[in-house]
Amino acid sequence: MMTSKMWVTMGPQHPFSHGLWTLKVKIDGEVITDAIPIIGYLHRGWEKECENRTYPQIIPMADRLCYSASMTWSHVYVMAVEEALGIEVPERAQYLRVVADEICRIQSHLMWLAAMGTDLGNLTVFLWSLREREMFLDLFVKLCGQRLTTNYPRIGGVRNDMPYLFERDCMRVVDLFEKRLWDIIALMDDSAIFLSRMQGVGRISRKEAANMGLTGPGMRGCGVNFDVRRDDPYEVYDLLDFEVPVHKDGDAYARYAVRIEEMFQSCEIIRQAMAQMPDGPVRIKVPRNVPAGSHFARIEDPRGEALMHLISDGTDKPYRLKVRSPIFVNVSGAKRMVLGTRMADVPAIMGTIDMCLGETDR
């Protein structure tokens, strides 16, 4: 009997693709024999637009790279400019940035967990995760006035100091969150259905991950022990004590477990940073023109390694600003991950990539 194979286009407007991207899969019955990820539906010319903005004006634009990692993206941009200016940021500002980064990491991972829940058909996980995420967004509102587009880091520091009682709120939220996260984990790790969906699918080996240049939880889920925060410390991460979660399996479940553990570690980092935070200024005055040169800065984004390469020409506008998006690289592993799995596995596997098209297409 002749079996015919069929191309199914999943996306760009499809419930599984969180954002505008397409995964064309060739299915034989339900088994996937070929896959092509297609991106580029959300190209906005971000890098070109930056060439017409002065340096401070790019900070709120960098927030718009990714809706759930706005703080880390503006942070990496600011770090690149500070690298070019050669200035030292006040210590308190560095701690504040670390705290904001970790809040951002937790809320981004919660957004991912929520999306993961809908991908697997469990709406309870979706709503519970978003409920916890609200607390961290409220912290952002208190700290810098907006929920998502934080616009918090500035060249030479941060926008403002901690508001009144922020430290108390932060500790309360972190404590409550750690308690409530166990409820969500009970729905995932304790559920045989969830485990059977996640374990053993979307497997990618350590070597393949390294060759493709995967970063972030996708790479640590394959057993590569690398984290920019620990191995190339920026800000004050070298003064903080935290662990980098690594899982050997390399399947969808490993990536899930790494992200969950990262949330616990981020809570720990927030506690330590709040305890160690020194007094002092939070922002220094910087010159408006950046000397000519080529500099880059990298940071551990919630999704992987974010890098910005800045080429300045001595004016108050950048000559070129290149963004290295972690998802742009991670999505290249999509084909390798879904080959041989079933069509029902596609959301489960692609959910663990944690797509964000704003930064991918720029």
Partner: protein, 385 residues
């Protein structure tokens, strides 16, 4: 002649044409009583306009009262089931809302009228059909899906005095018609000319056929134990002896899992898995057609729960208090209890995969159902029942 000569409510059991003979049947009584009021008023009015005509006595004759009373009885019976279904939808939305820590329905007292508002909204939507769809298959599939669902819902008696037909083959016919809709889902998936629908239809057919078998084995063991296919006899047997959930607990679990799969609910809602197949086999259905499909889902859920109650939970009977309670209410409360468990499972679990669902069906549920059958045969041979 005066008004009271035309409108007089007689005992429906005295009607010589009644198909139910001397058996008490509340919907029939209500139906024929309603017609005696409506038809009597009509006959009175007609007689006032044209005195001494032959139409007026005909309208309130025994034969016409019986025929139109039966029509009204069906309407009454369906209205009750429909309200029960609306309540079940309301319960599902409320319980899911509380589980997920969110507000659920809003319109009406306690949000009860939200379903009606949604129904009105879907009813007002435009009729859209894909250009290259198979028109006949597209429309007939949804008609038969909703039609078979309503038909089996009408076949379930709520009590010995609240039924449409009391027939010997009982459960067999219910299960037979329960198995019709998977084929129509396959037709619907094919007719929409859409890859997602096709895959969804295939999944539906595979899943439902493989879950039909453990379900039927459980059904066989229940029938074997009760010694009858008739629903009344099965419930009467349980009232005389014990509820079947005690000797056949395995059978109950197998039946509930299979029933969730048959009703296409999470965690077995693969045919409409929204994450990978946009809306599964319903992708191209819109407006009221989609609304009817949703309604048929709930009717099938109602039927599955009602069968579970009849087969395992003693139907409309409560132990030690046979005379105190209204049997219809007891039956519906038990149905809603089972439905609550299905909703609870929906709020707790995700969706499972195609191969896993078939594995569970063939490798777990089927052996368990056979084991259950063995237990029943042993009990029967041992003379326990």
């Amino acid at each position: 002649m005066s008004f009271s000569d035309w409108v007089n409510i007689s005992d429906p059991l005295a009607n010589p044409n009644s198909p139910y003979g001397v058996t008490e049947n509340i919907p029939y009584s209500v139906g024929s009583g309603l017609w005696e009021i409506i038809g009597g008023i009509l006959a009175w009015i007609i007689n006032m306009i044209v005195p001494g005509n032959r139409l007026s006595p005909w309208l309130i004759s025994d034969a016409v009262t019986n025929a139109l009373g039966l029509v009204l009885m069906v309407v009454v019976f369906f209205a009750v089931i429909f309200i029960v279904n609306l309540t079940m939808i309301w319960i599902e939305r409320k319980v899911l809302g509380r589980i997920m820590d969110r507000r659920a329905t809003r319109i009406g007292p306690l949000g009860y009228l939200q379903c009606l508002a949604d129904g009105l909204k879907t009813f007002l939507k435009e009729h859209i059909m894909p250009d290259k769809a198979d028109k006949k298959g597209y429309m007939w599939a949804v008609s038969i899906v909703i039609g078979s669902a309503v038909l089996i819902a009408g076949m379930i008696p709520l009590s010995p005095r609240w039924f449409l037909a009391d027939y010997g083959t009982g459960l067999l016919i219910v299960f037979g018609i329960f198995a019709v809709s998977p084929f129509m889902i396959l037709v619907a998936g094919w007719a929409q000319n859409n890859k997602y629908s096709l895959i969804g239809g295939m999944r539906a057919a595979a899943q439902m056929i493989s879950y039909e078998i453990p379900m039927l084995l459980v059904f066989v063991s229940v029938v074997l134990m009760a010694g009858s296919l008739n629903i009344n006899d099965i419930v009467q047997f349980q009232m005389d002896n014990t509820w079947f959930i005690i000797p056949q607990f395995i059978g109950f679990v197998v039946f509930m899992v299979a029933a969730v799969a048959e009703a296409e609910r999470i965690p077995f809602d693969l045919p409409e898995a929204e994450a990978e197949l946009v809306e599964g086999w319903q992708t191209e259905y819109g407006g009221m057609k989609w609304g009817l499909i949703m309604l048929s889902d709930y009717f099938r859920g109602y039927v599955a729960c009602a069968l579970g109650v009849i087969m395992f939970l003693g139907g409309w009977a409560l132990p030690f208090m046979d005379e105190l309670v209204i049997p219809e209410i007891v039956f519906l409360l038990k149905v809603i209890l089972l439905f609550f468990i299905m909703v609870w499972a929906r709020g707790t679990f995700g969706r499972i995969r195609t191969d896993q669902i078939l594995n569970i069906g063939w490798k777990v549920l089927l052996p368990l159902a056979v084991l259950n059958l063995f237990i029943v045969v042993l009990l029967k041979m041992g003379g326990v029942f």
